[in-house]
């Protein structure tokens, strides 16, 4: 294993993580809910009464984050190497499976581990495992 020191951003990543933690903390302390993105977004596709506006506003806040960022600074680098067919397949897989698995990196990885939920710890280990394996296969065996 070699560490790519030129790309390593421990302080920025830690600060961003703290901001994400603050958001997760605010949502449970004020709204009494788990800040899980796949659940919040997916819930809009099976709308329950009184449930639509807060979900829409949460998603709007996330989507508008780059616009808010642009007030102060140019956007950070964003590089998407995957081509369109792969993006469509990956999007479908992420959409279906996060709903079946009841969560993603935010709901299980951040909130679930923060509250030491056994289900979320298992879920996080599972998606980290296949994430590592998928990138290994794609980059080192298939050579995408």
């Amino acid at each position: 294993m070699t560490i790519d020191m030129s790309s390593f951003t421990p302080w920025a990543s830690l600060s961003g993580g703290v901001l994400i933690g603050i958001a997760a903390a605010m949502f449970i302390l004020l709204n009494g809910r788990i800040a899980g993105i796949s659940g919040i977004l997916g819930g809009l596709l099976n709308p329950q009464k009184g449930d639509i506006l807060w979900r829409t506003l949460f998603v709007a806040g996330m989507v508008l984050a780059p616009a808010a960022w642009l007030i102060a600074a140019p956007l950070p680098e964003m590089q998407i190497d995957a081509g369109y067919p792969l993006l469509i397949i990956a999007g479908l897989v992420v959409g279906i499976s996060t709903r079946y698995g009841s969560g993603c990196t935010s709901g299980h990885g951040v909130c679930g581990i923060s509250r030491l939920s056994p289900r979320s710890i298992v879920a996080t280990l599972a998606f980290m495992f296949t994430g590592f394996v998928t990138v290994y296969v794609a980059r080192h065996l298939v050579g995408i």
Binding site: I3, S7, S13, I34, A65, A68, T105, I113, S114, G131
Partner: protein
């Protein structure tokens, strides 16, 4: 406007800004984190660490409470069993995550930058979530 709606929007915004600061909104960086056999960028472990450290404080504070500080009922996942849906769903999510480097939160933030590839990913992801709803509904209804 009800303060819960404002906090939902602000939480989404802070969450999105955190993802931008941390580097998680950049799929290339996410894939470098998942590529432990290549030039590894461990930054994203710091995102998780920072977020969980703050989140853990909040989830400790609400332990034993039934309502949030604003009097909203606490809605914590009640499921305890490690069922196959959780495990298969999470394993599947990791594959989709590893294919393109996008998980749901960062995808929404990237969508907000207007990047065409991110928009295509988000459309596919929402379609995947809609497919889940259709499958679940058809399962709920007994076939005559």
């Amino acid at each position: 406007m009800n303060k819960h709606f404002i906090s939902a929007f602000v939480t989404g915004l802070i969450f999105g800004l955190g993802l931008l600061v941390s580097g998680m909104a950049n799929p290339d960086k996410v894939l470098s984190f998942l590529d432990i056999a290549g030039a590894w960028d461990p930054s994203l472990a710091f995102v998780m660490g920072g977020a969980i450290a703050v989140g853990a404080v909040a989830f400790t504070l609400i332990k034993g409470r039934t309502h949030s500080l604003w009097g909203e009922p606490l809605r914590l996942p009640g499921k305890k069993d490690l069922d196959s849906r959780l495990i298969m769903g999470s394993l599947g999510f990791g594959i989709g995550w590893g294919l393109a480097g996008f998980c749901p939160g960062p995808a929404l933030v990237a969508f907000g930058t207007g990047a065409p590839k991110a928009i295509v990913f988000v459309i596919a992801m929402v379609a995947g979530m809609a497919i889940y709803e259709v499958i679940e509904k058809s399962r709920a209804k007994p076939v005559n």
